[in-house]
C-alpha cells in the first residue's frame, strides 16, 4: 500500500505532508507518494532531523490510494485531516481546493 508521511507544524499545528526533497507542504497533492514499506522507512529516517529541530510533531505515515494523478487517503480520519472538517466545507485545506 502506498503511503504519505504527515505531521503537524509545531508553530501553528497545521497538518503538513512531506514532499520529495524533504519540504513540508500543506496540500496532499504536493506530497511524495511512497510506494512501499522500504520507501516509507527511508523517508522516516530523513524526517527525524525535522523532529529534532522542532519543526514538526506527530509524524506518521498513512495509507493512500493513487488513481492517475489523484491521491486519496484510505481511512476517513486521514481524509478529514487532508481536507478539513466535513461539517465546515469552508474550513481547512478544502477551502483552498
Amino acid at each position: 500500500m502506498s503511503q504519505v508521511i504527515s505531521a503537524n507544524r509545531l508553530s501553528d499545528g497545521i497538518v503538513v505532508f512531506r514532499a520529495s526533497g524533504g519540504a513540508w507542504v500543506e496540500q496532499l497533492r504536493d506530497a511524495e507518494i511512497l510506494p512501499d514499506a522500504s520507501a516509507v522507512k527511508a523517508a522516516m529516517g530523513l524526517v527525524e532531523k525535522d523532529v529534532l529541530a522542532n519543526h514538526v510533531i506527530e509524524v506518521a505515515a498513512f495509507d493512500v490510494a493513487v488513481k492517475g494523478d489523484h491521491v486519496e487517503p484510505v481511512h476517513l480520519r486521514d481524509k478529514i485531516r487532508a481536507k478539513g472538517p466535513t461539517t465546515h466545507p469552508d474550513h481547512g485545506k478544502q477551502a483552498a481546493l
Partner: protein, 557 residues
C-alpha cells in the same frame, strides 16, 4: 458574579508568564514535545486533527457580557469566527496557532478568564447547575462553593500530577441539572433534619470506557469541611489510584477495585487525621464569596405577562419558543431563557462571533448582565422578565438563535467527533445534524416530547452518550463507522446508564434506527404525559429491540 481581586489577577498573570515562558522554551527547542505536552495540556492546549485546540474554562458556566464579547473577539481574530461550547462548561477554539496562544491568554486575563487546568491530569474546571441562583427549586446557590473549590484547586502543588483527570460538579437543587453523579466528585446541596445546609457527596462517577454512577459517600457534609473533605478524597486517590494503565486510572476504577466501603473508610480516616485547620472554611469567607453571587435586584412584576400573552396569541412560533425555552424562575414574572445552540441541521454548541455579541448585548439590555453556559451546550439568560420575551425573541430570531427546541429531540449533545478530535473513531456532529433535520422543531418534535439524545464519537464519551435517553456511540469496525445505541440513560438525580440495544448501525442507517426507536416509543406510551424515559423504564428494552432488529422478518412496527 465573582470578580477577581488583585490577588486573583496577579495569579492569572503569573500563570500566563509561566506558560508563555514554556511556549517560548518549546518553540526554541529547549523543551521536548514530551516535556511540553503536560504544560500545554495543563493550560488547555491540545493538538487535534487539523491544528491546536484551545479550551477555555467558564467556571460553573457563568459569563458576563464583557467576557462573552471577548470570546467573540478571540473567535474572530485568532480563529475562524466561531467557538464551540462543550459539555463541561468550557469553550473550545479549533484553529489557534501555538505562537498566538500566549496573546490569547493575555486577552482572556484582561476579562478575568483563563484556560488553567482545562486539561491534564489535574482538577478540571469546576462545573455547576446552569440555572444556579435563579431556579425555582433551588436550596442554595452552589456557585460560591464552586468558586471556593476553583481557587483551592488552582495549581494545587499536591494535586497537579494525579493518576488521571479529576472533575468536580455541584448542584444546588434536588433536580440535578449538572450531571453530578457522573463526575469524580459530585456535591449536592441538601438540608439536614436540623434545617442546616450542607452537601451530599458522591464519589467515583464517570463515563468513558468504564461508565459508573457515583456512590454517595456522605449524606451530609458541613460547608466548612468542603475543602478538607475534598482534599481527603483527592489525596486517597492520588496515592492509591492506578498509574499502570491510563484506562483504569480514574477514581471510579479505584472505588470499584478497592470496594466502595473500603474507599469510604479510607477517605473518612484521612479526613479525620487531617489537622490542617487552615482548610476549614470560615462562615465569613463563605459569606464574602457568596456576596459576589447575590441575585440581581429584580423589580416586581405580575406573574402573568400581558406582553407575552398577547404575542403568543398572534404568533404560534413565538408561543412554541416560550413553551420550550423558558424555565420557571423563582421570582414571578421572570423566566430562565435557554438560547438553543442547536439550530435545525446546525452544529451543536457552535456559536459565531456575531451570535456571541448579540447574546452579550441581550444580557446587558434584558438580562442583568448574566449569561450561563449549560453542559447541554446551550446558553442561558437566567433572569429575564417575561414582558421582555417578545423583544428578545425577535433579536434572537434575526441571528438564527430562536430555535424552539430546548429539551426536545433536536436539542442534542454532541462531542466534536472525528471532524476535529484526534481521539475520535467516528463522526458525531453530522449524525446530530441529520437527526435534527429528520425531526426538526415543529409539531412532530413537540409530540415526541422531552428527549435527550447524546452522541459521542469514541469510547471516551465526551458526548455523555451513556446517560442520554437515547445514546449514540460512534465506533470504527473494519475501517467503517458504526453507531451503537443505548436507551434509558439519564444524568439527573435518577442517574442511570443506558442499555445497549444490540449490534450497531451504519452511518447511513443510524438516523433511521433513531426514528424506529422514537416511533416505537410514541406507539407504546400510555399518553403524551409519559415521556420516553418513563416509558422505557416501564416496558424495558424488548419492544425496541424487536422494532430495531426484526423489521426485516415481518414485524409490523
Amino acid at each position: 458574579m465573582y470578580r477577581y481581586d488583585e490577588f486573583d489577577a496577579a495569579f492569572v498573570a503569573d500563570r500566563l508568564n509561566q506558560f508563555s515562558d514554556q511556549v517560548q522554551r518549546r518553540l526554541s527547542g529547549e523543551l521536548t514535545e514530551e516535556q511540553f505536552r503536560i504544560h500545554r495540556l495543563m493550560n488547555g492546549v491540545y493538538l487535534q486533527l487539523h491544528a491546536y485546540m484551545l479550551r477555555i474554562a467558564i467556571p460553573y458556566g457563568t459569563l458576563s457580557p464583557r467576557q462573552l464579547r471577548k470570546l467573540a473577539h478571540i473567535a474572530r481574530r485568532y480563529d475562524k469566527g466561531f467557538g464551540h461550547f462543550t459539555t463541561r462548561q468550557n469553550i473550545q477554539f479549533n484553529w489557534p496557532a501555538l505562537k498566538d496562544i500566549p496573546a490569547i491568554l493575555g486577552e482572556l486575563a484582561s476579562v478575568e478568564m483563563h484556560a488553567i487546568q482545562t486539561s491534564g491530569n489535574c482538577i478540571r474546571n469546576v462545573t455547576a447547575d446552569h440555572f444556579a441562583g435563579a431556579a425555582a427549586d433551588e436550596i442554595e446557590d452552589p456557585r460560591p462553593y464552586a468558586e471556593i473549590l476553583r481557587q483551592w484547586s488552582s495549581i494545587h502543588p499536591e494535586f497537579t500530577y494525579l493518576p488521571r483527570k479529576f472533575k468536580l460538579a455541584l448542584s444546588g437543587s434536588p433536580h440535578d441539572r449538572a450531571a453530578i453523579q457522573v463526575h469524580d466528585i459530585g456535591y449536592q446541596l441538601v438540608k439536614n433534619d436540623k434545617g442546616d445546609t450542607g452537601f451530599a457527596v458522591f464519589v467515583g462517577g464517570g463515563l468513558g470506557r468504564t461508565p459508573m454512577v457515583g456512590h454517595k459517600i456522605r449524606d451530609f457534609l458541613a460547608p466548612q469541611d468542603l475543602l478538607a473533605y475534598t482534599q481527603a478524597i483527592v489525596r486517597v486517590y492520588n496515592l492509591e489510584g492506578r498509574r499502570d494503565n491510563k484506562y483504569k486510572a480514574r477514581i471510579k476504577i479505584l472505588v470499584h477495585e478497592k470496594g466502595f466501603e473500603a474507599m469510604r473508610e479510607a477517605v473518612e480516616a484521612e479526613f479525620a487525621a487531617d489537622k490542617n485547620e487552615l482548610l476549614a472554611l470560615p462562615q465569613s469567607e463563605i459569606d464574602r464569596i457568596s456576596a459576589y453571587f447575590a441575585p440581581p435586584d429584580l423589580e416586581e412584576r405580575p406573574a402573568q405577562s400581558q406582553a407575552l400573552t398577547a404575542r403568543r396569541a398572534s404568533d404560534p412560533a413565538f408561543g412554541a419558543f416560550a413553551d420550550t425555552n423558558v424555565a420557571k424562575h423563582r421570582q414571578p414574572g421572570y423566566g430562565l431563557l435557554t438560547i438553543s445552540l442547536k439550530p435545525i441541521g446546525g452544529i451543536p454548541g457552535d456559536a459565531t462571533a456575531e451570535q456571541m455579541e448579540l447574546v452579550a448585548e441581550l444580557a446587558e439590555t434584558f438580562g442583568h448582565d448574566e449569561i450561563r453556559v449549560s453542559h447541554e451546550q446551550n446558553l442561558v439568560l437566567p433572569h429575564v422578565a417575561l414582558d421582555d420575551l417578545p423583544a428578545i425573541y425577535d433579536a434572537l430570531a434575526a441571528q438564527g438563535l430562536a430555535t424552539a427546541n430546548a429539551g426536545l429531540i433536536s436539542d442534542i449533545i454532541s462531542c466534536p467527533g472525528m471532524d476535529y478530535c484526534s481521539l475520535a473513531t467516528a463522526r458525531s456532529i453530522p449524525v446530530a445534524q441529520r437527526i435534527s433535520e429528520r425531526f426538526a422543531d415543529g409539531p412532530r418534535a413537540k409530540e415526541i416530547g422531552a428527549m435527550k439524545i447524546k452522541i459521542s464519537g469514541c469510547i471516551n464519551a465526551c458526548g455523555h452518550h451513556h446517560v442520554g435517553h437515547i445514546g449514540i456511540l460512534g465506533l470504527e469496525r473494519k475501517g467503517v463507522e458504526t453507531y451503537q445505541l443505548t436507551l434509558g440513560g439519564s444524568a439527573d438525580e435518577g442517574c442511570k446508564l443506558g442499555d445497549i440495544t444490540g449490534p450497531g448501525f451504519s452511518y447511513e442507517d443510524v438516523v433511521d434506527a433513531i426514528e424506529t426507536v422514537v416511533d416505537t416509543y410514541v406507539g407504546l406510551r400510555t399518553s403524551a404525559d409519559e415521556d420516553f424515559l418513563r416509558a422505557y423504564r416501564r416496558v424495558g428494552m424488548a419492544p425496541f429491540k424487536k422494532a430495531l432488529y426484526e423489521r426485516d422478518s415481518g414485524s409490523d412496527i
